[in-house]
């Protein structure tokens, strides 16, 4: 199937701003799905609220557009009730890690077979550029007019510590890696997290004077490095890209099937 067969083309052009990285994520996602040869009926995409969540409107899968931060909780209900479906949950950084932070760590802890994609643009775009938990100390936002004193955290390390069994990070500059990591995340049996740094030139870019969309993508190239590279040792400020965690552990729905067997035997 061609990539364009996976989209609902009557909703294009999309609502994202010119230069936004989210369209690149959508592109990578569709290439991953196409490469896996999944049929549209096998995929359920669940999203929350925000710019990122609007991705569900554009894909011709079973799509569930839910509440801010709660996508993973809805997805858990869908997955546990129909384990044969593939669950993909794209979220923004505020969506996944501020209002949805608790659901995020607990979905990871359960190791339920869901693919979480965090489209990290370091801001709340839909509401106009307020600081998010990923904006970082010293950044500027419409709610941080005197500079942000909130510290950010590392999504990949958080996901790994919470128990996710596949954790990867890349950026919209590295489009082939986006598609490849999403493909591997979908294939992985267990809770997988792919963080994709995605530029928001409209709000984060303007407020922090980091240049145009192209400039921001250029920075993704220069400010990141493969995990464990020599460059990272020389310059610890570089952000690592790559697969941080990939391990096999019992998956939640499979474990629950064993509970059912045990309960039925004892009954």
């Amino acid at each position: 199937m061609a990539v364009k067969d996976y989209i609902r083309d009557r909703f294009f052009p999309h609502l994202w701003c010119p230069g936004c990285g989210h369209g690149i994520v959508l592109n990578g996602l569709l290439h991953a799905v196409e490469k896996l040869g999944l049929s549209k009926n096998e995929i359920v995409m669940v999203s929350g609220i925000g710019c990122s969540s609007r991705i569900t409107g554009y894909v011709d899968f079973h799509t569930l557009h839910t509440l801010h931060g709660r996508a993973l909780a809805f997805a858990t209900g869908v997955k546990l009730s129909r384990p044969e479906l593939n669950l993909i949950v794209p979220m923004g950084d505020g969506d996944a890690l501020a209002i949805g932070g608790n659901h995020f760590i607990h979905a990871a802890r359960r190791n339920i077979d869901i693919t979480a994609i965090v489209m990290n643009n370091r801001t709340y775009g839909m509401t106009g550029g307020q600081y998010s938990p990923l904006s970082g100390y010293g950044t500027s936002a419409t709610t941080a007019p005197y500079s942000n004193i909130d510290h950010d955290f590392d999504i990949a390390r958080l996901a790994a510590a919470a128990g996710a069994t596949f954790v990867a990070r890349t950026t919209t500059y590295h489009i082939h890696q986006v598609a490849e990591f999403i493909r591997r995340a979908i294939l992985h049996e267990g809770f997988s997290v792919v963080e994709i740094m995605s530029q928001c030139p409209t709000y984060f870019g303007r407020k922090n004077r980091v240049g145009s969309a192209v400039d921001m993508m250029e920075q993704y190239k220069t400010d990141t490095t493969p995990i464990g590279s020599k460059a990272k040792k020389e310059n610890p400020a570089l952000i690592e890209r790559g697969v941080f965690v990939e391990k096999e552990l019992p998956e939640y729905c499979n474990e629950y099937n064993r509970i059912i067997e045990r309960a039925m035997k004892g009954h």
Partner: protein, 382 residues
């Protein structure tokens, strides 16, 4: 037949009713005084191949049951006031996206953490208006185990019929009191299964296009039809729309499908109403005390009667008005500051004859409490 007679708690009677109705997915979070519902279902659901999950909080519990309901399962969650507050967000989503689900709230004293181990009926209005925006909702209750069982089955049937959340508003006394339950045989109480679309896969399908009777034949999510589900106002395909006609039409549909069926959804019981001069209106555990008053007065020739409401929302105004028409006094017996009192006053022709007999201190209202208030109402002093 003897094996069909159980001695158990109200919370367990609710579990029996839910399983009888076809429950196969539960998500919840522990909270007093509802926890027995979760504990029992963690044992019972996997025995029949169903799923139980303890989520990280009540926000997630409500979201998880919505997800599972969409895929075609009968779903339940159980909580009490503080958890019910957290569920209001996704409850509104279930109303908007028309997801059948049943939410048990075993009421305790509030506001806030309140009085976790004591009885209250303070969440009647929260069940109605806890989530934001105009909407309609169904809320039901019961006063004894047999009725808890039956009303739970009913709640699932109504949820499936109208594709709506149904709140089961029990209270601590009903939830924890142990008494007899006679389990009906399979098939004895009719069950409603979800209306499914007859449209084949690959054909343009309108999941959110109601039939003329307001019912929605939706296909299971993850099946042959791919569609969108959203908490935004949406068109008949389920895609977001802020077209004024679409918004108006959907909101009217969501409210009308419930409010236009108020009499079909109304459940109530009457005791000695034919010639009642003093009519008590009550629901949940307080109806037990009210019934005791009525049954102790009747042998003395005093014309007392009881209207026990089992459907609280949509409030059955016309039925209450009709039943109260001949009464000299109407006394609403409840364990809150008059949440149903105001509804009764609004429903009847002579609101000045409606009085309140209540307790709000976490102590179960007794027949003696009601008798004392009746003396005051009838001008006989204490």
């Amino acid at each position: 037949m003897s094996s069909n007679i159980k001695f158990l708690q109200g919370n367990e009677a609710c579990v029996e009713g839910a399983l009888y109705a076809g429950l196969d997915f539960f998500a919840g979070y522990p909270i007093t005084p509802s926890t027995e519902v979760a504990e029992q279902l963690s044992i019972r659901l996997p025995q029949k191949g169903g799923k139980f999950i303890q989520m990280e909080d009540e926000l997630a519990s409500m979201c998880a049951i919505i997800g599972a309901s969409l895929t075609g399962h009968k779903v339940l969650t159980a909580t009490s006031g503080p958890g019910f507050s957290l569920m209001q967000e996704a409850l509104g989503y279930a109303i908007m996206a028309e997801i059948p689900c049943v939410i048990v709230n075993v009421q305790r004293g509030g506001p806030s953490t309140g009085n976790p181990t004591h009885v209250s009926q303070g969440d009647v209005n929260q069940a109605r208006w806890g989530t934001h925006g105009d909407h309609a909702i169904v809320t039901m209750t019961a006063s004894n185990n047999q009725d808890v069982f039956a009303i739970t089955v009913d709640a699932f049937n109504i949820a499936e019929t109208y594709r709506t959340p149904v709140v089961l508003l029990f209270d601590e006394v009903v939830g924890h009191m142990r008494e007899r339950l006679i389990l009906p045989e399979p098939g004895e109480i009719p069950l409603v299964d979800r209306l499914k679309t007859s449209v084949r896969g690959g054909v343009d399908y309108h999941p959110y296009l109601p039939r003329e009777d307001g019912r929605l034949p939706m296909s299971d999510f993850g099946g042959v039809h791919r569609y969108n589900v959203t908490g935004l106002f949406h068109d008949m395909w389920g895609f977001p729309s802020n077209n004024p006609e679409v918004v108006h039409g959907l909101l009217r549909h969501l409210v009308d499908k419930i409010e236009n069926n108020v009499n079909q959804i109304a459940r109530y019981k009457e005791f000695y109403l034919e010639d009642a001069e003093c009519l008590l209106i009550s629901y949940g555990s307080s109806a037990r005390a009210a019934r005791h008053v009525v049954e102790s007065r009747r042998p003395r020739g005093e014309r007392f009667g009881l209207l026990e409401l089992q459907t609280l929302w949509p409030f059955p105004d016309a039925i209450v008005r009709e039943k109260c028409a001949e009464a000299k006094f109407v006394v609403v017996v409840e364990m809150n500051m008059g949440q149903v009192l105001h509804l009764v006053k609004a429903a009847v022709n002579e609101p000045e004859k409606v009085f309140l007999a209540n307790r709000i201190d976490g102590v179960f209202i007794t027949d003696a409490d009601i008798r004392n208030i009746l003396r005051l109402i009838r001008g006989k002093g204490v």
